[in-house]
């Protein structure tokens, strides 16, 4: 069973206006669970847009996205055929996003002025989970990524590599099954980029499905990559061999 299945997905912006453009055009793709899938392509090729659609951050203009092997709070049981997420109301979509996906952004998108620990716990605040529970989990993640000593420091005191690790810890706080990373090595030097890929290896070993958009050879040439999907001008030019 595919974890994420995209069928004829298109996304247009500024529909009906002179500035209308198609960012993703008729893309069909299956993403395997527990594998590392890389979306490779130049800037403007539609990688980020495709990832926002998969991560329930935006809706496609047309097409279907089906998620399998997940169970949201509002579901009585796991749907064997998967859930078609494109037609879900925002509230349900948010719930799926929170539980299923962890995001690592190009700019890290950490909140300045609050501590590392609070930044990591941020996605868990609105879930209604007991604070002690997710604080404990955050502590474990900080230990795991060797940044526990910075737990109470504001994020602006941290180096680029440490920020990256905080961002990854934050993505993992709700224990998602899918990690989506958008150009995660764009602001890192070679050593830190390799360190990032080591973390990806650990996550893969832990059974996470990983989806990375990147045009960095350290990422797409990595032996960890199970599949490299190439995009250009909103379409898939090479979907690579299925793992």
């Amino acid at each position: 069973m595919n974890m994420i299945s995209l069928t004829n997905i298109s996304k247009s912006f500024h529909v009906g206006k002179a500035s209308q453009f198609v960012a993703v055009n008729d893309v069909s793709l299956d993403i395997e669970p527990g594998k590392v899938t890389i979306l490779k392509g130049p800037s403007g090729s539609g990688k980020t847009t495709l990832m926002t659609l998969i991560g329930c951050m935006a809706r496609p203009t047309s097409g279907r996205i089906v998620l399998s092997g997940m169970r949201a709070a509002w579901m009585a049981s796991e749907e064997p055929a998967g859930v078609e997420i494109t037609s879900l109301p925002e509230r349900f979509l948010n719930d799926i996003r929170r539980r299923t996906f962890g995001f690592v952004f190009q700019q890290f998108n950490l909140l300045k002025g609050i501590s590392v620990l609070e930044n990591v716990m941020l996605p868990a605040y609105p879930t209604g989970e007991d604070h002690r529970e997710f604080a404990k989990r955050a502590g474990v993640l900080l230990e795991q990524f060797s940044i526990a000593r910075h737990a109470s420091s504001p994020v602006e005191w941290l180096s680029g590599g440490e920020l990256q690790r905080v961002a990854i810890a934050r993505a993992l706080i709700n224990d998602p099954s899918v990690i989506i990373a958008d150009e995660p090595t764009a602001h890192l030097d070679t050593a830190l980029s390799r360190e990032f890929m080591t973390i990806v290896g650990t996550l893969k070993k832990a059974g996470k499905t990983i989806l990375i958009a990147s045009h960095d050879p350290i990422v797409f040439d990595s032996p960890l990559a199970d599949r490299v999907v190439e995009m250009r001008d909103g379409v898939i030019t090479s979907s690579g061999p299925k793992p």
């Binding site: 980020t48 847009t49 990832m51 926002t52 951050m57 935006a58 925002e90 509230r91 948010n94 996003r97 929170r98 995001f103 952004f105 700019q107 998108n109 950490l110 909140l111 300045k112 002025g113 609050i114 501590s115 609070e118 941020l122 996605p123 868990a124 605040y125 609105p126 879930t127 209604g128 989970e129 007991d130 604070h131 934050r170 709700n174 958008d182």
Partner: protein, 376 residues
């Protein structure tokens, strides 16, 4: 249910950390906000307490006071009026009263002089007079009589107790004989007449009868006295309020600017929160708590400070305006009289607008697509 409470607790906790990030800005906002609430609450507490004091004083006031007018000015009442009024049906008692004001040139204070059944040569004085003249029981006070003859030497029998200070600070009580000597007050006349009636509901009918009989008489009902006290304090309160409007307005502008002007950084933060799984309602809840923490804290700090200011220190900041102008300021502790309705209104006028003013501008920012942060 538990999850809902936890969600509120978690978001409230985060809103506190979030507020601490802009310590100086939020602390200055809280300080100004508290000051405004403090000023308005002090005013409310003070007026409530003063009205309560006034009502207590008027509780023992006569049902009606009859004055005589001479060309529109108050004049002395012949005692013959008292006899004729006492004969009217429904009048229980008529008491001619002697009272007046004495300008005490050595101290520059204006004293209220009244009479009571007491031996000639003795007086009772209010504690304000006692302070002013630095005299206490058994001391002798000299008052210059109006006939310019020998000054009156009066021995203080008693200094009136502290509790009666508001009404009696400037009071001098003496015998009728000394009073008439002091002011060269004509025999057979009184300052006014105090009436007690059998049925207070007949007061206005009785007042009509008195005016019919004596067209130069002016009856003043107890309810009218109450109204006068009320309007005096309301007027003074109003004056104070006008002075505060400038401060309140500047605060509103400041708060509005603070609350509505979402900085680019705040917008970015909202975008980040949305992108990591916060819903629009979570962001609004966060902003609600941020506004509520500031406004509720300001409300409570302001009200507590006002309570202490008014009831523990007798409102030193407002006394000159609210208690009138005098050399003889009463010194007294106000008895707490909290008008919950007014306090409720103050709560809604201070807490609610700020809290909502904080949420509304966030609404637009919070409804952005979560993918916006992905593209920043």
């Amino acid at each position: 249910m538990n999850r809902t409470i936890e969600r509120h607790k978690n978001i409230l906790e985060f809103s506190l950390s979030s507020l601490l990030r802009r310590k100086t800005k939020n602390a200055s906002l809280l300080a100004i906000y508290t000051l405004i609430v403090f000023a308005i609450a002090s005013l409310l507490f003070f007026l409530s307490a003063m009205k309560r004091e006034a009502l207590l004083i008027l509780k023992d006031a006569p049902d009606m006071v009859v004055q005589r007018m001479e060309a529109g000015r108050q004049d002395l009442v012949p005692l013959s009026y008292a006899k004729e009024i006492a004969a009217l049906r429904g009048v229980r008692e008529v008491k001619p009263r002697l009272w007046g004001y004495y300008y005490d040139s050595p101290s520059g204070g204006n004293l209220t002089v009244m009479t009571a059944e007491m031996p000639a040569g003795f007086i009772k004085i209010g504690s304000g007079v006692s302070r002013l003249r630095r005299a206490t029981a058994a001391d002798v006070i000299v008052l210059q009589s109006y006939d310019n003859e020998v000054p009156l030497m009066l021995e203080i029998e008693e200094v009136l107790p502290y509790e009666s200070e508001l009404a009696a600070a400037d009071l001098v009580i003496m015998s009728e004989l000394d009073f008439r000597k002091l002011f060269k007050f004509p025999q057979g006349h009184a300052t006014d007449l105090a009436l007690t009636v059998a049925n207070p509901r007949e007061l206005s009918t009785l007042a009509g009868k008195i005016v019919d009989k004596f067209p130069d008489a002016r009856p003043i009902l107890k309810s009218e006295m109450l109204r006068t006290y009320d309007s005096i304090f309301d007027w003074r309160g109003g004056m104070m309020l006008v002075m505060m409007i400038a401060a309140v307005l500047s605060f509103i502008i400041f708060a509005w600017d603070r609350a509505t002007g979402l900085s680019a950084e705040e917008r970015k933060e909202i975008g980040i929160l949305k992108s990591i799984g916060w819903e629009t309602s979570d962001v609004l809840l966060l902003k609600f708590w941020e506004g509520a923490v500031i406004s509720l804290s300001a409300f409570f700090f302001g009200v507590i400070a006002a309570y202490v200011h008014v009831y523990f220190f007798s409102a030193p900041l407002f006394q000159p305006v609210l208690k009138g102008w005098s050399v003889l300021y009463p010194q007294f502790k106000l008895v707490p009289a909290v008008d919950t309705y007014q306090l409720g209104v103050l709560f809604f006028l201070t807490v609610a607008p700020y809290t909502f003013a904080t949420i509304i501008p966030c609404w637009r920012a919070a409804t952005i697509d979560p993918d916006a942060a992905m593209r920043s």
